[in-house]
Structure formats: structure tokens, C-alpha cells
Symmetry: C2
Subunit: 298 residues, 2 copies
Amino acid sequence: VIEAIRRLAVRGAPLIGVAAAYGLAIEIARAPTVAHARAAAERLRAARPTAVNLAHAVDRVLEAALAVPLGQLAAASLAEAQALHADETAASRAMATAGADWLSSGSGGPIRRVLTHCNTGALAAPGEGTALGVVCELHRRGELERVLATESRPLLQGARLTVWELVRHGIPHELIVDSAAAGLLAGGAVDAVIVGCDRVAANGDVANKVGTLSLALAARHAGVPFVVVGPTTTIDLACPSGAEIRIEERDADEVRFARGRRLTLPDTACRNPAFDVTPAELVSALVTEAGLRVPVGR
Amino acid sequence: VIEAIRRLAVRGAPLIGVAAAYGLAIEIARAPTVAHARAAAERLRAARPTAVNLAHAVDRVLEAALAVPLGQLAAASLAEAQALHADETAASRAMATAGADWLSSGSGGPIRRVLTHCNTGALAAPGEGTALGVVCELHRRGELERVLATESRPLLQGARLTVWELVRHGIPHELIVDSAAAGLLAGGAVDAVIVGCDRVAANGDVANKVGTLSLALAARHAGVPFVVVGPTTTIDLACPSGAEIRIEERDADEVRFARGRRLTLPDTACRNPAFDVTPAELVSALVTEAGLRVPVGR
């Protein structure tokens, strides 16, 4: 499970949490001792540094296991992983409704053309996903005209995964390179930008897939809402602000290559931050399963 | 020549101008009549819509040809193309000096780490180029620590061309995906952003490679200078503002593929604007061979 999380076979903050919960339950079933449970939890927690759902999920299963007599460790941890899975699935449904409600009526204008980043659908979260769950709900309500999907370099989750999900849902869409978003937004081609999140600090700063900050700045420049969708498990109250969020830097080969094809000279030095931090003041609405947080004055 | 310009075998606004000037001279040598010269000029002008240097260069050679007796058409147009080439080469040198001078002393702080976009070097303009010419001059002065180069999707001019030029010049550099720029800028990794331009409107709005607007917004957010470098031939006084600049939309396959490798489902619909427009108020300095334009109050 750790390896699957590291190489992004399992990805998307909520789905990483669910996978890690089951991973810990599996490991406890293999060797149902407190010491082993603690050690396995620690290793799982370190699989990826930015997504806070991972630590939340591991802690929740570990706590449930440690609260029962030794003979029930395995059963208790599996039951807790299943409960977490069910909670996250219900959260996806609640976020979709809350987000679509706000975009339909609370955001100040009709939202027919949305732009989304990376992949935040069923391949990233239980149910229909976070940001893409809201998009699906708008589509079911007949309010959606078209989705612009960013390709999301370096790993192309938009081009590979989001496009595939949009085709399955029958939602009209167009793919763009990441850097085309700002010009299209400024030209009036988009009514709202809607993204997921990997960690939200206590002050509302949002760590999410690299490129999110660019989209937030472009949305502000264009005067359209910038909406962040994520379960409350993504909120890290122990983290005061975005400045304290550790940004994972991944392998340079992700930049040097696209789907196995080399794009630059061999051994070119690269920076490859996987995430960036969007300040809370650029977020028009944070949509969770417990409702919305809309900054005062917006 | 038209075909080479269309498929970007010749690219970069100043180099497109020089190539088109020689292209017209060649065509006039083949059939030295006024009617043929006018027809060839019209076809060359339409090769790409956004770069204004193309029209300037073609008009300059055509005017020179039409100003001489019929027997001297071919000689006069070749001489004018050579003069334009020499002028653009001298302009590159002058821009490099003016840009480096301003960044060294006029911009308010030491500029050791610059971020640049697309390719603006010797593969885009006569001499050492426009923005990359300034970078080379900073390097010669010993002031440059490192260049961050964006890969510049969809056609990867940064990954393929700029990295190659930086290696040749021995300038330390790192490659990033386009969407990583904003986070790195916000994190303090860059002292200035420096880009070329394809057309500057009379009010100072800048059309340049798609992604430039994102970088300008990110530079403003980070509080670092955003510098645009281009010869005066790039300024289109007949164009009042960026709103009047026609943005070329190129083939969807440029988005669907990277260096021949398909990135998404076949036949995925794409938007592929090749340029975007950065409003003048986001430009800290416009560097030309005739000096700088620095907006009042910045």
C-alpha cells in the first residue's frame, strides 16, 4: 500500500486516506500486536508528506485498534477502515450537493462553464470525488454547459484521468495545457474555477496540486469564483498557515519525461514541487461535507 | 518560408520577421514584378497572425522594392532584407545591455535568480535573442546565479530549445513545468521574471506565448519585477490595446501529444491558444533597443 501511494497508483487526498486505512488494517491482521500496529502506522504516515488525510486515516484506525482487547485488534481495525470509507463516500455526496447549491445560487451569477485542475473524481476520492463530484452534480441538474480540464503536468492527471471520467459521465469538455488557463479566464471563457485540496491550514490557506495558485490568481484577475472542495479530514487545524505546510518535491524525471517520452536534454536539472499553497484570501468558497466556509466580505 | 513559419521551424517574433524578409526577397528574385511582389507579401503576412514583426518586415522589404526602378527590384529587396537582419541583430545587443543595466541597478534589488518562459534566445531572434539575450548579458557580468526555465507546453520550446541554449552558454539552470512557476515565485525562489513578446499594443498590453499572463500575475503576487523584452518592431501602434490582438488558435494535436506521444484519449476536444495578453499594468519594464518603458509609479 505504501508503494502504491508513493508511485501514485493510489492518489487523491481522500482516496490515499481510505487506502492507508485499509493498509493498516491489513498489516494489523498479519501481525496483531500493538508494537506492530504502531510501527506500520508510522511507515504509512510517511508515504507522502503533503496530504493530511493520510495521517488522519492512519491515526483513526490505530486509535480504534488500540482501544480494544488484544484479540480484537484485527477486527476492530478493519471495521474502522470500513467506517472511514463509508464516511468519506458520504462526504463526497454532501460536498457535491453543497458545492452545486452555492454555485447555483450563492456565487452571484450563473455558472455554466467551469475550469478544473488535476483529477478530483472517482479516481481520487470515494464516490464521485471532490471538485469533480460538484461538477457531476451541476451536470445532473442541467446547469453545466462545458468543463475546461487542465492537463496537469507533470503527471497529466487531467489529460489521462479527468478526461476519461468526463467522457464516462457524458459531460462536454475541452482539454487545455495548464498555462492556457489564465488567458482563457481573462477572455471570459470560464464562469468558475473549482479544484480539490490536499491540505487546508487552520487559516484557510490551501495546499493542492502544483498549478493551483496560478489558477487562483487567474480567477481573481478575471473576477470569477475560485472554489476549493475537500472533506473536513483535509483540514489540518494543527497547521496554522500555508507557510508551515511541507511541499513534497518529486523526482526530476517526472519533469524530464511525459508518458515515457523524454522532453529535454538528458540529466537536465529540474525543480519538481508536487503542490503549491494558495492563500485563503484567494479562495471564494471552501466546500466541505459540513458546509461552506466563505470568507467575510466576498 | 511560409511553411517553415507555420510549422514553427522558424519561430520567435524577431526571427520570423527576418525569415519573412528574406522569403520575400527570394520570391521577388524569382519573379521580379510589382504584382508578384505584392501577392507574395500578402501571403507571407498571413503565415502567422499574432507576431507583428512579420508584417513589419514584409512591408519594409516591399516598400524598398517598390521604390526602385523595375530592373532593380530583386537587388533592392535583398539589400533591404539584409539591412533588416543587421538592424535586428544590433537591436538584440542593445536590448541585452539596456535590460541588464535596469535589472542590475534600476529594478530595486539584486537580480540573481531569473525565471524565463518559452525560448527567446538565438533560436528566436538574431544575435543572442531578446529576453535570453538579457540573461546572457547578466551572466557575462557575473551577476547571475541561476535561471529557472519553464518547459512551455504545448510545444516545449523551453525544455527543448532554452535548456539547450543555456547549456551552450554555461548558465546554471533548472527546468520546471509551467504551472510550478507561481508557487516557486511565491516561495521566494525568483528575483525577476523576464520574457519576450510577439506583439505590444499601443497602450503597452503584451501578447506573448501562452502562459505569459500567468507568470505576470505570479510575479505581481510575489512582488518581483516582470520584464518584457522585444525590439521596437514588435510594437504595433495601430493596435490600441490587447483587446484588439487576434490570438492564434493552433491544432488540437499540439495539446493531445508531447513529442509524438499521445497524452489523452484520442479525439479529445482541446482549446489551444498559442498566445495570451498581459495587461500593461502588470509589466514592470518594457525593454527595447531604443530604451526602456517603465510605467509611472513603479
